[in-house]
């Protein structure tokens, strides 16, 4: 259900800006507004982690293991997507060469 809500919100934003319905003043300052709200959201997400006693208690006990597991996951997933990205670039080049 949540996915549907997100899709609806993104589509609403896309329709408003693609139809040019956006107020000029808002449009000019959109990037700044977006950035300020992003930092605010990240701050609150941080608060949500810091305020949660369960997170802090478990981190004390299992923190080292958690850091190792999350970092190895991230590093290998970035490496895997790197391979996919290289494959995409290769394919793009092949298509361009075929066209020319």
């Amino acid at each position: 259900m949540r996915i549907l809500l997100y899709i609806l919100i993104i589509i609403a934003g896309a329709l408003i800006s693609s139809r040019g319905l956006l107020n000029k003043v808002v449009e000019k300052n959109l990037a700044k507004l977006q950035y300020a709200s992003l930092l605010l959201l990240l701050f609150i997400m941080g608060v949500n982690i810091g305020i949660n006693d369960q997170i802090i208690n478990t981190f004390g006990k299992l923190g080292l293991q958690a850091i190792v597991l999350s970092l190895t996951s991230i590093v290998l997933s970035v490496a895997a997507v790197k391979l996919v990205a290289v494959y995409f670039k290769h394919r793009e080049k092949a298509v361009q060469q075929n066209e020319s």
């Binding site: 997100y6 701050f43 949500n48 293991q65 597991l69 991230i74 997933s77 970035v78």
Partner: protein
């Protein structure tokens, strides 16, 4: 820009630890949901301004699914390798890695297996989300835009999406959303399968 992202998360964590009263935690979920919806609306506006986007996504076709599968495979292999170094059983470390950053669901699934594993899944995936938020801008700048989606895992469709959108472009934001949806669907399927190995 990347530094202010790191600082916002870190100051937030410290403020949660030392400043905000515990009572605030009852309302914080709602505040995050509202903020998230607002930012997703902005992401939508960025997408709407880019007219070429659907042509580009269409040209990638089904191959776009290689990205979530790469993230899934890399995450699980990575946590198995990390778990091997820590002396954890393969089924536990693989299932924890298959949480893809979705800490609530993976922790609930795994606490049925053991409380300790559930707790480790929880904190590992919380760490993954924090590391994702702070590393995405750097990965986008120094490694590549598509690669910047990888740390986010399942959160590529919600909490990490605004950071990805800000650090890359509207095209990558759409790929990111799709990646997050696929990975979020895989979590409740893969975690029980892997822990049963």
């Amino acid at each position: 820009m990347s530094l202010s992202i790191i600082l916002s998360v870190v100051i937030g964590i410290l403020a949660g630890l030392f400043v905000f009263p515990d009572a605030f935690s009852q309302h914080i979920g709602l505040v995050i949901d509202i903020g998230l919806c607002m930012l997703l609306f902005f992401v939508g506006m960025d997408i709407g301004r880019n007219k070429e986007i659907f042509k580009q996504i269409k040209s990638m076709g089904y191959k776009i699914l290689l990205i979530p599968f790469g993230v899934a495979l890399g995450s699980i292999t990575g946590s198995v390798l990390g778990g091997f170094a820590l002396g954890l059983p393969i089924n536990e470390s693989a299932a924890i890695g298959a949480g893809f950053g979705w800490y609530t669901l993976s922790a609930i699934e795994l606490s049925k297996y053991s409380v300790e594993t559930g707790a480790l899944a929880f904190i590992t995936n919380v760490c993954r989300e924090v590391f994702a938020l702070v590393s995405i801008p750097y990965i986008a700048k120094y490694i590549g835009k598509l690669e910047a989606i990888a740390p986010a895992g399942a959160t590529a469709m919600d909490t990490s999406l605004p950071v990805i959108s800000k650090s890359t472009d509207a095209n990558t934001a759409v790929v990111s959303f799709i990646t997050g949806v696929v990975l979020s669907t895989l979590v409740p399927i893969l975690v029980p399968i892997l822990i049963a190995i």
